[in-house]
């Protein structure tokens, strides 16, 4: 145990740098990112000691992070039993996808009313990045980008509150797909749908964009199989390839 491979400040080995200590938000961000890129599987036990040594922070910080992650349904906390990466139930999965359809439908409408040509260009750039990551075989990055696409759409609506809500749902979706997603392939957010949505938005065809987004989400949900075994991950390797917040 206690592999002192701290991720924090891994580059500034022992210089005179200020060594800004990680906060609970930083730990949360790392865990969230690991969940998003499927390096942390649902059901994985997260001990305080592990995260302390991995991130080089005290128990207090890890403890606070757990509290916040629980609030976001990313971990489950059981008294005297510690933290476990959450395993959404099929019922919760249904609610998450239904919520995403409602929220993204509404956000698309809002975005369409004030969209600028530059925003369309930015979306097309994002599509290009998705393709690049996919052809390069960087699965983790590709998974992250497909999630970010939906957040990009949401940002166009200019509503911070809704954006935060959708963020939570994207993380939940990652857990759900990790649990119940099709194991044969890794493609659940097919790039084609994303491109079609951007095209519809560029043409000013809101209802088409909404329809495509809706069926896009329904399709992913339909591919879920609610009878699969769980996995377990190694913590250190799961957190290792992390970029700074």
């Amino acid at each position: 145990m206690a592999s002192a491979a701290t991720i924090a400040n891994s580059s500034t080995a022992k210089t005179h740098m200020a060594e800004a200590p990680m906060t609970e938000e930083d730990v949360c961000a790392h865990v969230r990112d690991s969940v998003l890129e499927r390096r942390l599987a649902p059901g994985t036990k997260l001990t305080e000691e592990s995260l302390c040594s991995i991130f080089g922070v005290g128990r207090t910080t890890v403890r606070r992070a757990f509290l916040l992650l629980k609030r976001d349904n990313i971990v489950d906390l059981h008294r005297n039993r510690g933290a476990v990466v959450a395993s959404p139930t099929p019922a919760e999965a249904r609610d998450v996808f239904e919520s995403r359809r409602m929220i993204e439908h509404a956000l698309l409408q809002q975005a369409a009313s004030t969209i600028a040509p530059a925003s369309i260009t930015a979306l097309e750039d994002h599509l290009e990045q998705e393709r690049t990551a996919l052809t390069a075989g960087d699965v983790g990055r590709w998974i992250r980008l497909t999630g970010d696409f939906h957040l990009h759409l949401a940002r166009l609506a200019g509503n911070r509150v809704m954006l935060e809500f959708l963020k939570q749902l994207v993380f939940q979706t990652s857990l759900i797909v990790a649990l119940y997603g099709p194991s044969n392939n890794g493609s659940n957010c097919s790039g084609g749908d994303h491109a079609k949505i951007v095209a519809a938005m560029r043409d000013g065809d809101l209802s088409s964009a909404q329809d495509i987004l809706d069926s896009h989400l329904r399709e992913i949900e339909a591919q879920l199989e609610f009878n699969k075994p769980e996995k377990q991950n190694d913590l250190v390797s799961a957190f290792a390839p992390m970029r700074s917040a």
Copy 2:
């Protein structure tokens, strides 16, 4: 200081009862309720010592509660400066109301698809409770009920995730109205609108219900005045008339 008037277990003075200690969720619930009923004004400083003695818990618990309340935008935390009841900016207020329109619009549609006669009856019961509280002059209870009405509607949609989101927005709304609401009267959620919504739902007229709900929220938002002084509350009295969670 340190008025040892603990709210927790106020009835079981010193009996042999188990004296279940309050958890951070309990403290959160109390603060949220106080915000909801306008006994805690935005800008009020919440010191750890105060809440410790009021609720009879240790600093650890209060600290955890602060963290969760910050996550919900109910308090602001500044390092070394403690917790303050949040004061949403006009921009945030705009986002909150826009979010409520989006979310409640979608939830109403969802609810309409599977609504049962019994649910309508329950809604009408709620309307009656609102009227009773209003005529009885129990303003705190009435304010809470007007908020609960919207949550009742949301519950009909059967989506826990969206219900939680709306809960957060209702609390935010309470802060916003406390800050910028019309000071001349106390009526911002006029009972008439609520009754009209229920009537439309009973008649199976979804779009009417949606329209009324939409304009209902727009009306409240339009009444906001974004140039008012803040208030400050006494903590003990603010938390005193609390019912158990």
